[in-house]
C-alpha cells in the first residue's frame, strides 16, 4: 500500500512499493496517458512531473514518489484549460502516432517552468525523448510557440 498524490488528489494505492511508478499509474490508478516505451529511462515516453520536475516514471519506484506531487499528462490541463504546451501542440499539429507525445509534452512543460524562453541549445540539452515518427521539427517549433505564449 502506498499513499500517492496524483494530479492533486491523494489516494491509497494497493501496490508493492518497489513497483515502478509508471506501472502503478497505468495499472493500479488507471491513468494510461503515461506510456511504456523502454523501461530503462532511455526513451522518455513515461515522463511525469514529481514536484514539478520531469522524471522518467519507468525507473522510479513508487516508494520514492510517496509524499510528493505527481502530475501526469491527464493532470496537465487546469480546470479544463489546456496547458500552453498542449495548446501549442494542438495548433502546431505536432503528434503523428502520438504515443511518445505525452512524455514529450511533460518534458517540455517542465523545461518551460525552469526556462520560460529556452534557446535551441536549452531544448537540445533538456529534451532527449525518442520519437520514432520523427516529429522533432514540429516539436521544436511548438516549444518556441508555447514559450512565446507565456
Amino acid at each position: 500500500m502506498a499513499r500517492l498524490t496524483i494530479n492533486g488528489k491523494a489516494q491509497d494505492i494497493d501496490v508493492d512499493p518497489n513497483t515502478p511508478l509508471l506501472w502503478a499509474l497505468r495499472e493500479q490508478v488507471g491513468l494510461t496517458g503515461t506510456k511504456y516505451g523502454c523501461g530503462i529511462a532511455q526513451c522518455g515516453a513515461c515522463t511525469v512531473h514529481i514536484d514539478g520536475v520531469a522524471v522518467r516514471s519507468c525507473s522510479l519506484p513508487v516508494s520514492d514518489a510517496v509524499g510528493k506531487q505527481i502530475t501526469t499528462i491527464e493532470g496537465l490541463a487546469q480546470n479544463g484549460i489546456l496547458h500552453r504546451v498542449q495548446k501549442a501542440w494542438l495548433e502546431g499539429d505536432v503528434p503523428q502516432c502520438g504515443y511518445c507525445q505525452s512524455g514529450m509534452i511533460m518534458a517540455v512543460a517542465a523545461l518551460l517552468k525552469e526556462k520560460p524562453k529556452p534557446t535551441d541549445a536549452d531544448i537540445n540539452d533538456a529534451i532527449t525523448n525518442i520519437c520514432r515518427c520523427g516529429t522533432f521539427q514540429q516539436v521544436r517549433a511548438a516549444i518556441h510557440a508555447a514559450a512565446a505564449n507565456a
Binding site: T32, Y36, W89, L90, G98, R132, C133, F136, Q138
Partner: protein, 726 residues
C-alpha cells in the same frame, strides 16, 4: 452480425481473394425500407458514410492510422465528394468481421507500402460522391423537384429555384433507403476545397491529453495481463520450465506455454507478470541456429557478390561485355545491416476467448490479417471472431504482415477461457523478436570508355528476400521482385537513369533471421548503393555529381524534376557557406519521386553536423500538403536514425541489441532543419508519402561526407566507423 455465413479460415482467405478484384465501393445497401444502422442507430447512407441527426458525419475507414495522417487524408477525400461540413466529420473503423460479413465492402484494410491513400482514393471518393447523390436525391424527393435542381454544400442541400434548404442530417434516413447511383463522376482535383488543403489532423486533440487509446491501453472488465518470452535463439524451442519457482509470486495466476517456442506468465498486472517471468527458470532447446552470427551471415552474403547464379531484375544491352572491354572500371562493395522497426509502442494484443467466440483488441496495420490470425489461432469460424482496431503507437511494417503477437494473445487467452488477457511484449522482447530490415551486400561496377563516358553499370545485390519469408506466392519463378525496388525498369519504384548497358541482379541468401517489411525497406539500401555509387562514378569521371546524373536522366523527367528542385533550392553549383559541403540523392519508391540535398560540416573527420536537408516529393497528387511535410521531416528522422545508429547484430543465433541503450534513435538535438518541397505533377497512379523520403536521407549525407572529407563510406551504421553527430 447474425447473417454472417459460416466461414472457416480457408474460405475467408479464398473469398477475400475472390472479391478483392471487384470492390463494391461501399454501396451494398439493401434495397427497400431496411436501413443499415450504425451502433448508435444512425443511418448508413452507404458503407463509408453514416450521418447522425445532428449532422455529424461519420466516415468509415478501412485503413489504419499509425501516425502518417492517413485517416485525415482519406476523410478529406470522402468529405470533398460528399460536400459535407468538415467541422462535423469524425471517423471510425469498421471491424474486419463486419467487413467480411458484408463481402469486404470496405475493401483492403492493409496499411503498408505507403498505400493508405494512393490505393484507395478512388473508391473512397466514389463512396463520398454516391452518398452525396443519394442525400440530394432524398431532398429532391421530399420537395418533389428534380435532383438536378439541387446542390449540396457544407452539409446543406439547396433547391436553387425555390431557395429551399435542408441538411444532411434531416434527409439521411430517407437517403439510406435509396438505391445507390449507377454512375458516379468524381471532381477534378483542381476543384478540390477540402482535399488538397493543409488541414489539421482529426486525431490530435486526444493525443495531447492522454485520452487516446492505443492497444496497450485497452481495459476490459476482469482483464488479466500477460508477459511473454520467446526463445531468443531463432528456431529454438522451450525445453522445460520450473513453474513452481514463480507460482507463489504476487499476482501470478498461471504460467503457460505458447506454442512450442514461448512461455507466458499471466498475472493480475503486467508488472507482476513480467517480474515473475524474469524470475522463471526456462531451459531452451536452442535448435540449429545457435552458431549463426553476423560474421557467418556476412561471409555467406559475400559469396553471392560473385556467384554465377542470380536473378535478373533489370537489364539492357550487355553490361558484362561492356565492363570487360572498358577503358576504365570503378568497383565498390556496399553493405546494409539488420534493423528493427522499434515502434514506440511495444507489440501487444488483448484477447477474450470463450468456446464460441474470440475477440481481439489490438493495433494492426492490416485488420484482415489480424482477423485471419485470430481465426487460425482460435480455431473458430469467421462469424465467431472479430478484431477491434486501436490506434497504433507506430507500425513501420512490424504490425502489418506479421501478427505473431495476435496469435500469441489468442493462444494465451485460450488457456484462460472467459477471461480477457492483455499480452504486452517488453521492449526487450520487441527487439529480439523483430521482423528485421533484411541484410544485403551490393557489388557495383561501372565502366567508362576512353573518352570518359559511362558505358555500363552492373549492380549485384546479395542477400535476403522478404517475400521468400512472408509471401511466397509473390515470387516470380523464385525471384523476389521487391529486392530490386528502386532499380526496377518500370513500376512504382523505377530506376531514374538510362545506362547504355545495365545489369541489376540478385543472388539470394536467406539467413535464419526473419526479415520483414520495414518503413521504406528495400529502397533504403538500394538508394544508398545506387546513389552513393553514382557519386563515385561522377568523381571517377571528374564530373559534378548533379551534371553527371542529369546526362543519364533525360528520359526520366519526374526523377529529374525533384532532383532539379532540391538542387535549385540550395543553389547547387554556387559555393556553400564556409565549411559546409553538399551531397545529393534521388530515387523513386511507392509511386513517388523523391530527392534530397544534405548540407553538412564535419569536425575532426568524424563529427557530422547536418545544417539542412532539402527534400522534394512528387506524389502525383497531394491530399494534405501539411501532412506530407511532416512525413518528409519524419522520414529524414527515420532514415538518419538508421544511418547513424541502426544495426541489429547476431551472436549465437540471437539478436544482441535489446533496448534503446544499444539501439539508439535520433533525438531532437540532432534534428536537422528540413525544408520540404511538395511538387505534385499529376498523373496516375498516385504515389505514397509515408516512406519514400527515408531512402534519400542516408545517401545525401554520405555523399556530402565524401565532399567534405574525401572518404567514401560503404557500410552503415556510422557508429561502427566511430562517426557521430557533432
Amino acid at each position: 452480425m447474425n447473417h454472417i455465413q459460416q466461414m472457416n479460415r480457408r474460405t475467408f482467405v479464398v473469398s477475400a481473394a475472390a472479391v478483392g478484384g471487384g470492390l463494391m465501393f461501399g454501396m451494398d445497401i439493401p434495397l427497400g425500407p431496411q436501413v443499415v444502422r450504425a451502433a448508435d442507430g444512425s443511418p448508413e447512407v452507404n458503407a463509408w458514410v453514416v450521418i447522425r441527426p445532428d449532422d455529424t458525419v461519420v466516415i468509415r475507414m478501412a485503413r489504419s492510422e499509425m501516425g502518417q495522417g492517413t485517416i485525415t487524408g482519406l476523410a478529406q477525400l470522402v468529405a470533398e465528394e460528399l460536400e459535407c461540413d468538415w467541422s462535423k466529420v469524425t471517423t471510425e473503423y469498421p471491424t474486419p468481421g463486419q467487413s467480411v460479413a458484408r463481402k469486404r465492402v470496405w475493401g483492403d484494410m492493409s496499411t503498408g507500402g505507403s498505400r493508405g491513400i494512393r490505393n484507395s482514393h478512388e473508391y473512397v471518393r466514389k463512396g463520398g460522391a454516391a452518398a452525396r447523390m443519394m442525400l440530394v436525391q432524398a431532398a429532391a424527393n421530399e420537395w418533389k423537384v428534380p435532383a438536378s435542381e439541387c446542390t449540396a454544400s457544407n452539409s446543406v442541400i439547396t433547391h436553387s429555384p425555390s431557395g429551399r434548404t435542408t441538411t444532411f442530417g434531416k434527409v439521411a434516413e430517407a437517403a439510406a433507403k435509396l438505391e445507390p447511383p449507377a454512375e458516379i463522376k468524381l471532381k477534378d482535383p483542381k476543384d478540390w476545397k477540402i482535399a488538397g488543403k493543409p488541414l489539421q489532423r482529426l486525431d490530435t486533440a486526444d493525443k495531447i491529453n492522454g485520452k487516446m487509446i492505443y492497444g496497450i491501453d485497452v481495459k476490459l472488465p476482469g482483464m488479466l495481463n500477460a508477459a511473454i518470452k520467446d526463445c531468443p535463439v531463432f528456431g529454438g524451442k522451450v525445453k522445460s520450465l520450473d513453474t513452481a519457482k514463480v507460482a507463489g509470486m504476487p499476482g501470478v495466476k498461471k504460467v503457460v506455454q505458447v506454442g512450442d517456442t514461448a512461455v507466458a506468465v499471466i498475472g493480475d498486472t503486467w508488472w507482476q507478470a513480467k517480474s515473475a517471468l524474469d524470475a522463471l527458470p526456462i531451459v531452451w532447446d536452442e535448435g540449429p541456429n545457435v552458431k549463426v552470427s553476423s560474421a557467418t551471415i556476412a561471409e555467406a552474403l559475400k559469396t553471392g557478390l560473385d556467384a554465377e547464379q542470380a536473378f535478373i531484375g533489370n537489364q539492357n544491352g550487355d553490361a558484362k561485355a561492356a565492363i570487360a572491354s572498358a577503358a576504365k572500371k570503378v568497383e565498390a562493395v556496399y553493405s546494409y545491416p539488420y534493423q528493427n522497426h522499434a515502434a514506440m509502442e511495444p507489440l501487444n494484443a488483448t484477447a477474450l476467448y470463450t468456446a464460441d467466440k474470440c475477440e481481439v483488441w489490438c493495433g494492426t496495420q492490416n485488420g484482415e490479417a489480424a482477423f485471419a490470425a485470430v481465426l487460425a489461432a482460435s480455431g473458430l469460424p469467421a462469424n465467431k471472431c472479430d478484431v477491434h482496431k486501436q490506434m497504433l503507437g507506430g507500425g513501420f511494417g512490424r504490425r502489418g504482415a506479421f501478427h505473431d503477437y495476435v496469435s500469441q494473445a489468442v493462444l494465451i487467452a485460450k488457456q484462460m477461457p472467459g477471461t480477457p488477457v492483455k499480452l504486452l511484449w517488453s521492449r526487450e522482447e520487441d527487439m529480439v523478436h523483430g521482423r528485421y530490415h533484411p541484410v544485403t551486400q551490393c557489388k557495383l561496377v561501372g565502366a567508362f570508355d576512353k573518352d570518359n563516358n559511362l558505358t555500363a553499370l552492373h549492380a549485384r545485390i546479395s542477400g535476403q528476400s522478404i517475400l521468400t519469408a512472408v509471401r511466397l506466392e509473390a515470387l516470380e519463378n523464385g525471384k523476389d521482385p521487391a529486392t530490386f525496388q528502386g532499380f526496377a525498369p518500370a513500376g512504382e519504384a523505377m530506376i531514374g537513369y538510362s545506362f547504355p548497358n545495365l545489369l541489376v541482379d540478385h543472388a539470394m541468401h536467406n539467413p535464419p533471421v526473419p526479415p520483414g517489411f520495414w518503413r521504406g525497406v528495400n529502397i533504403n539500401h538500394n538508394a544508398i548503393y545506387l546513389e552513393c555509387f553514382m557519386d563515385e562514378l561522377a568523381h571517377a569521371a571528374g564530373q559534378d555529381p548533379l551534371e553527371f546524373r542529369r546526362k543519364l536522366m533525360t528520359k526520366h523527367p519526374k526523377h529529374l524534376g525533384v532532383l532539379n528542385a532540391v538542387a535549385e533550392r540550395v543553389g547547387w553549383g554556387k559555393p556553400a557557406p564556409q565549411g559546409v559541403f553538399r551531397g545529393l540523392a534521388q530515387h523513386m519508391g511507392y509511386g513517388s519521386y523523391v530527392a534530397a540535398v544534405a548540407e553538412i560540416s564535419v569536425e575532426g573527420g568524424n563529427k557530422i553536423k547536418i545544417h539542412r536537408i532539402v527534400g522534394a516529393t512528387d506524389p502525383g497528387f497531394a491530399v494534405n500538403p501539411a501532412q506530407i511535410d511532416r512525413q518528409v521531416a519524419g522520414s529524414f528522422v527515420y532514415g538518419l536514425s538508421a544511418l547513424f545508429y541502426g544495426e541489429c547484430t547476431v551472436k549465437d543465433g540471437a539478436i544482441e541489441q535489446t533496448n534503446f541503450d544499444t539501439y539508439d534513435s535520433l533525438r531532437i538535438a540532432n534534428m536537422p532543419k528540413v525544408e520540404s518541397i511538395v511538387m505534385p505533377t499529376g498523373g496516375t497512379p498516385w504515389g505514397g508519402v509515408g516512406e519514400p523520403t527515408i531512402c534519400v536521407a542516408a545517401p545525401a549525407v554520405l555523399n556530402a561526407f565524401f565532399a567534405a572529407t574525401g572518404k567514401r563510406i560503404r557500410s552503415v551504421p556510422l557508429k561502427n566507423l566511430n562517426i557521430a553527430f557533432a
